[in-house]
């Protein structure tokens, strides 16, 4: 930038122009952050205070009671629930199985499609590709039928397995594998690495940032699943946290334990936030650069 430009005195008009984006951003943050703030505050007051419809904007004194009650007890003052402890465990198992399963399956199928010549290779590739057009919602009835016939209703397997196949992740890995130079593959061949060794010694370490980025996305995808867990779980012991919250709110006819709902919601947010925070460095690296 030229010096003349740098030293040019800033007019009021310019300052205003600089201010506008800031204001827009601040307003945006407030819109997103305010409901979370209300939830946090709500989880620290008793049910009666919230029920009156005039929630104070400052923290109350009931935090410990609310959180411990939601965490471990199966009933509030007005209704009975599944304890958060159990629901978090269910959600965690489901989200982890989905994320790990999706990555494992898609990295292997991408490996096959990208590196091996076999009959009908492109047919299989297109079959994977076409499943992108068939999200869970579209195939939910037949999938339910299959899972029910296999006796997997109310099981972790039933929750996770139908969601594990992933065309998106397969395509992402395939694209990444195609950027790996042929000569690297050939060098490994000459060094004596067979297909499995090449996969574990070279491909997997090179893919780790991609794996990390996908893990974050897929974990949150799994965590937020609603429709499928709703169908496939009947017993309260198998409820996931997203289902649990919805059930707590009820139909509007029964009275709600708003204090417990708020506490449950806050706890439901924590694992995805933790995953993002802990894996942020890798996540961004995976999205932005590729170390080759």
């Amino acid at each position: 930038m030229s010096n003349a430009h740098m030293t040019e005195p800033r007019t009021t008009g310019r300052r205003l122009i600089d201010l506008v984006p800031h204001i827009v951003l601040i307003v945006g943050v407030l819109i997103f952050a305010f409901p979370i703030y209300v939830t946090l505050i709500g989880s620290t007051w008793d049910a009666a205070t919230i029920g009156r419809g005039s929630l104070p904007m400052t923290p109350g004194a009931e935090a410990w009671t609310n959180y411990s009650q939601a965490w471990s007890e199966s009933h509030g003052e007005r209704a009975s629930y599944t304890p958060v402890r159990l629901m978090l465990m269910n959600s965690l198992i489901m989200a982890l199985s989905i994320a790990v399963g999706k990555i494992a399956i898609s990295i292997l199928s991408a490996y096959a499609v990208a590196f091996f010549r076999f009959p009908l290779r492109m047919v299989f590739f297109w079959m994977i590709f076409i499943t992108l057009m068939l999200p869970v919602e579209v195939r939910i009835i037949p999938t339910y039928k299959v899972v029910a016939d296999l006796g997997m209703i109310d099981s972790y397997a039933g929750l996770a397995i139908p969601l594990i196949a992933s065309a998106t992740a397969t395509l992402l890995f395939r694209q990444f594998f195609l950027t790996i130079p042929d000569e690297l593959v050939e060098a490994a061949k000459i060094d004596g690495a067979g297909p499995l060794r090449f996969f574990f010694d070279i491909l997997l370490p090179l893919s780790k940032t991609n794996i990390a980025a996908l893990f974050v996305i897929l974990f949150i995808y799994g965590w937020n699943q609603y429709l499928w867990p709703l169908l496939v779980t009947n017993s309260a012991d198998m409820e996931t946290i997203v289902i649990g919250i919805t059930k707590m709110i009820g139909t509007g006819e029964a009275a709600n334990d708003w204090n417990l709902i708020m506490a449950t919601t806050v706890m439901a947010m924590l694992p995805p936030v933790a995953v993002v925070v802990f894996m942020q460095r890798w996540f961004i690296k995976g999205l932005v650069d590729s170390e080759k």
């Binding site: 130079p181 000569e183 690297l184 050939e186 060098a187 490994a188 061949k189 000459i190 060094d191 004596g192 690495a193 060794r197 010694d201 070279i202 370490p205 090179l206 170390e291 080759k292």
Partner: protein, 358 residues
């Protein structure tokens, strides 16, 4: 250490024949350079020896063993690639050690071999670094280290210096030459750079369109090119090629302008035969002994310091390159009387382009 024999090796991609039967036996410890323009099949031939490309016909024999159906890892060869092909996530040490680890060589042995290779290649300080932290020349040295530690029967080099800048290329060329002299491992080296070929090779295999045009020592290839292609490809600036006719007595060749150049050995049997006459620019000199030659019009003079290249034109319009040592003694627009040094004429058949032996 071993011999490598290539016996009538062919390669077809569908109906297209890329390699049309190459035969050569490479001696133990010999440095063979495969030289040719892009697309001549030299890399394909090397990759067939490596086992990275299937062999359509013929045999590749390494150390007395037919390796046609063996995997690359079982052929006892090591290869150095143009883009180095180092494992980006491994340290320099691990890059060199990887092939040995897979082969189950014990740890102490691996460490001593890598240490030895690192010493030869002056990589000792870099063993813990990643390839991305090294310069191009250092990376290429690591790639060579990876080949050396394997102690293979043969080294295969696929244009290893093409990604380096000119200065580094010269330096690495000398290093490769020294290394091969020291280790005495049979080597096949693919390049399109004639300087690399001339300086490194014990023998050069000049390829064009999947055919071996000539196999010989660098000086044979330069002094007695077997075909017009070789004559044009080796030497810089390239050889002048003119249409000429053997004179009726067979004692000399008639230039288009009528000048008569004496032949070192008369060819009475070829009297009146039209030929292609090749004269290297460096074998032309300003005529001082009064021979009857055509005056050359000087169009451009390139002074390179040690040499001067003159772009001239013969009276009939044919271009003629002349390379003289030292500073220019003529300028644009001059007319020079030039004549070839005695015995520096190359005659080629007009139809086949093959050399007419003298």
């Amino acid at each position: 250490m071993a011999t490598v024999e290539i016996k009538n090796v062919r390669k077809s991609y569908g109906p297209v024949e890329a390699i049309k039967g190459i035969d050569i036996a490479i001696q133990d410890g010999e440095f063979l350079v495969l030289l040719g323009p892009s697309g001549c099949g030299k890399s394909t031939l090397l990759r067939m020896v490596a086992g990275l490309e299937s062999i359509t016909g013929g045999q590749v024999v390494i150390g007395g063993r037919v390796v046609n159906d063996l995997e690359p890892k079982d052929r006892d060869i090591a290869m150095v690639f143009q883009n180095y092909a180092l494992y980006p996530h491994m340290s320099v040490f691990d890059n060199m050690a990887y092939g040995l680890k897979i082969r189950g060589v014990d740890k102490a042995e691996i460490e001593s071999r890598v240490a030895k290779a690192a010493e030869i290649l002056e990589l000792g300080r870099f063993l813990t670094r990643r390839p991305s932290q090294l310069s191009g020349g250092q990376r290429q040295r690591v790639a060579m280290g990876r080949a050396i530690v394997r102690e293979p029967a043969a080294f295969l080099f696929d244009e290893p210096l093409s990604n380096l800048d000119a200065k580094l290329r010269t330096q690495m060329r000398i290093e490769i030459k020294r290394l091969q002299d020291r280790l005495g491992i049979t080597s096949l080296y693919v390049t399109h750079d004639q300087v690399e070929a001339m300086t490194l090779a014990d023998r050069v295999l000049v390829m064009n369109h999947g055919v071996a045009e000539q196999i010989g020592t660098p000086l044979e290839v330069y002094q007695r090119p077997a075909s017009l292609f070789v004559a044009g490809f080796i030497g810089s600036p390239p050889m002048n090629v003119l249409d000429a006719v053997i004179d009726p007595s067979g004692q000399g060749v008639m230039m288009p302008g009528g000048a008569l150049l004496p032949l070192a050995r008369p060819r009475p049997s070829d009297a009146n035969r039209p030929v292609k006459l090749g004269i290297r620019p460096e074998h032309l000199a300003i005529n001082e002994d009064g021979l009857d030659t055509s005056p050359v019009l000087v169009e451009l003079v390139e002074a390179l310091g040690a040499d001067t290249v003159v772009y001239g034109r013969l009276p009939d319009g044919e271009p003629l390159l002349i390379r003289m040592s030292g500073l220019p003694s003529c300028k644009e627009g001059d007319r020079l009387a030039v004549a070839p040094q005695p015995g520096a004429l190359h005659l080629f058949d007009t139809a086949t382009g093959r050399r007419l032996e003298d």
